[in-house]
Amino acid sequence: MLRLPALTLRLAILSAFAVFFAVPVLWLILAPTKADSALVTASPLSFGSFHQLSLAWHHLDRFSDHIYRRWIYNSLYYALSATAITLAVSVPAGYGLAFGKFPGRRLLLSLTLVVMIIPAAALVLPIFLELNAMHLLGRSLSVILPFSFFPFGVYLAYIYYATALPPGLLDAARVDGCSEVQTFVRVALPLAKPVVALVFFFSFVADWNNFFLPLTVLADSNQYPIQVGLSDLLSSTPSFNPAQGGGGQTVDIFRPELALATLIAIVPVAIVFLVSQRALVRGLVGGAVKE
C-alpha cells in the first residue's frame, strides 16, 4: 500500500515548515545569551552564557530609568482593559446578530464587515481628531477605547453562533419558559467558551501588537506600549541608527539587548496562546452539536 510513503511525505512537509517557523524563534531565544560581537562570530544557533544574558538584562533595564518595565506594564494595562471590554461587548452582539430578528440586522452585519476591512490607518487620523474633541489625547483611554472596538470579535462571535449553535437548542430553552436574557445566559453563554477564547486571543494579540494608534495619540514615551517602545530601542541601537552620533555607545543598547527586549515583549502573548490553546484545539464547537 501507499500508506508508508504518504505518511513520510506528510511528516517531511510538516517538519520542513516547522523548521521555517521555529528557527527564527530559536535564534531569538539564544541571541541575548551572546555578546554583540559573538552574534557575528559564533554559530547563529549556539548558546552563549547566562552571564551575558544577565548583562543584557541589566543594560536593558537601565535604559532610560527602567522605562522598559513601564512599557510592558502599559501594554498589559491597555491590552487587558480593552480585551475585557471587547469580550463584554462582542459576544452578546454576535449572538444578537446571529439569532436576532430586528430591523437593520443585515445592515449592522454589513457595516461590521466593512469596518473590519477599512484600513486601520485610514481611521487613525479621524479617531485622533475625535479623541482631541473628547479631550482624551495623551490619556490611556485614548488607546483603550479605540482598542475596545473590535469588529472582528463581533464577526467571530456571529459566525460561531450562526454555525455552531443549533437554533433548536434556543427554541427548546424558550419553550421551557426562559426569557431572552435567560436563554442567552443559560444556553448560549456556556457554549461560548471556544469563541470567548478565540476573541480574547485575537483581541489581546491585536491590541498588544498595535503600533500605529498609540504612536499617534500618546504624547509621552512613558505612556508608550512595548511595541512603540521597541522602535524606540531600535533607534537607540548604534548599528540601526548612526544618526545619534558618537553617543550611541554609552547607552549600552546593542543587538543582544534588542533581541532580549523583543523576547520579553512576546512572553505575554505566548502565555495567552498557551491558555487559549486548550479551548481552541477542542474545535470551535463545544459539546452541543455532537450529541
Binding site: W27, L108, A121, F273
Partner: protein
C-alpha cells in the same frame, strides 16, 4: 419580561453600537469628508485624489502592495489550508506539537517580527545564511532587501507570523465536521486526499473566504513592517513603500490631512471591492438561510 415587545436580539447588540458608531462609522465618514475637502474645509471634488495620484510615490506604493498582497494571499490559502489538512487526522499529540510550533511566531507580530527578520535577513548573523547566499544570492543585508525582493520578504514575514493563527482556526473548523460524514466517505472507498479535497475543503470554504477577506484588508494596510525596515535599513527601503506609509508621511510630515485621507479612501475602496467579490463569489453570507 416575556411580555415586553423588544425586537428579539436587539438588546444584545446595543452595547456594541456606540463603539461601532464612534470608532467605526464616524471616523469613516470623517475620512470621506476630509478626502473631498481642502485644508480650509471647502469642497474639493476629486482634487485630493488627482493630486495624490500624481505624486511620484503613489503608483509605486500601490504596485508594491498589490504584489505583496497577491503573494501573501496565495501563500496563505495554499499553505495554511494544506497544512491544516495535513494536521487534521494526525495523532493528537503530534498534531498539537506541530500546531504549537506553527503558531509560536504569531506571538511575534508587528515590531517584534520585523526585529527578528532584520537579523534573519542579514547574511552575517542569520542561521539561514546558506539559503540567503544560494537562493537570494545575497552576501550583504542590503542585497537581501534589494527592492525587487521586498514584496516577497514582507509576504514571508507576514506569513511567518500570521499563518499559525489561521492554521489553528482552520484546524478548529475541520473539527466541526461531523465524524460520521468522514467515516461514511471512507467506507465508500474515498482516499484521504479525496476526503480532504472533496469533503473537508468545501465544508471549511467559509473560513477560507473569511481568512482571505481579513488578510486582504490587513495586507493593503501594511505599515509597521516597511516602516521599521525603513528605519533599521537607514533608508534603503523608502519610507513611502506602502500606501499607508505614504498617507502617514502626507499627514505628519507635510500636515496634508486631506491628501492622506484621499489615499485612505483609495485603500478603503480597494478593500470593499475585494470583499464584495469574495463575499459574492463564495457565498459567505449563506449562514443566513
Amino acid at each position: 419580561m416575556r411580555g415586553l415587545r423588544v425586537p428579539r436580539g436587539l438588546p444584545f447588540v446595543l452595547p456594541y453600537l456606540p463603539f461601532l458608531i464612534v470608532f467605526g462609522i464616524a471616523p469613516t465618514i470623517y475620512a470621506l469628508d476630509l478626502a473631498f475637502t481642502n485644508a480650509t474645509g471647502g469642497w474639493a471634488w476629486f482634487h485630493n485624489f488627482v493630486r495624490t495620484f500624481d505624486d511620484y510615490r503613489f503608483v509605486p506604493a500601490f504596485k508594491h502592495i498589490l504584489l505583496y498582497t497577491s503573494v501573501w494571499l496565495a501563500m496563505l490559502v495554499v499553505i495554511v489550508v494544506g497544512l491544516a489538512l495535513l494536521l487534521h487526522g494526525r495523532a493528537n499529540r503530534v498534531s498539537s506539537t506541530f500546531r504549537f510550533i506553527f503558531y509560536m511566531p504569531g506571538a511575534l507580530a508587528g515590531a517584534a517580527s520585523v526585529l527578528v527578520w532584520l537579523f534573519m535577513l542579514d547574511p552575517v548573523v542569520s542561521p539561514g545564511r546558506f539559503l540567503l547566499q544560494h537562493v537570494l544570492g545575497a552576501t550583504l543585508f542590503a542585497q537581501s532587501i534589494a527592492p525587487g525582493n521586498l514584496p516577497f520578504i514582507f509576504a514571508m514575514i507576514a506569513f511567518w507570523t500570521g499563518a499559525g493563527g489561521w492554521i489553528v482556526v482552520m484546524y478548529g473548523a475541520l473539527n466541526t465536521i461531523p465524524h460520521d460524514l468522514e467515516e461514511a466517505a471512507r467506507i465508500d472507498g474515498a482516499s484521504p486526499i479525496q476526503i480532504a479535497l472533496r469533503l473537508k475543503l468545501p465544508l471549511i470554504r467559509k473560513w477560507i473566504a473569511y481568512m482571505v477577506i481579513l488578510s486582504f484588508a490587513t495586507g493593503t494596510q501594511l505599515f509597521v513592517e516597511p516602516q521599521l525596515v525603513n528605519e533599521a535599513s537607514l533608508g534603503l527601503v523608502p519610507d513611502t513603500w506602502s500606501p499607508n506609509q505614504l498617507a502617514y508621511q502626507l499627514a505628519f510630515r507635510y500636515a496634508d490631512f486631506n491628501g492622506a485621507a484621499a489615499i485612505a479612501v483609495d485603500l478603503l475602496f480597494i478593500g470593499l471591492v475585494g470583499a464584495f467579490l469574495i463575499v459574492t463569489r463564495t457565498g459567505l453570507f449563506r449562514t443566513d438561510d
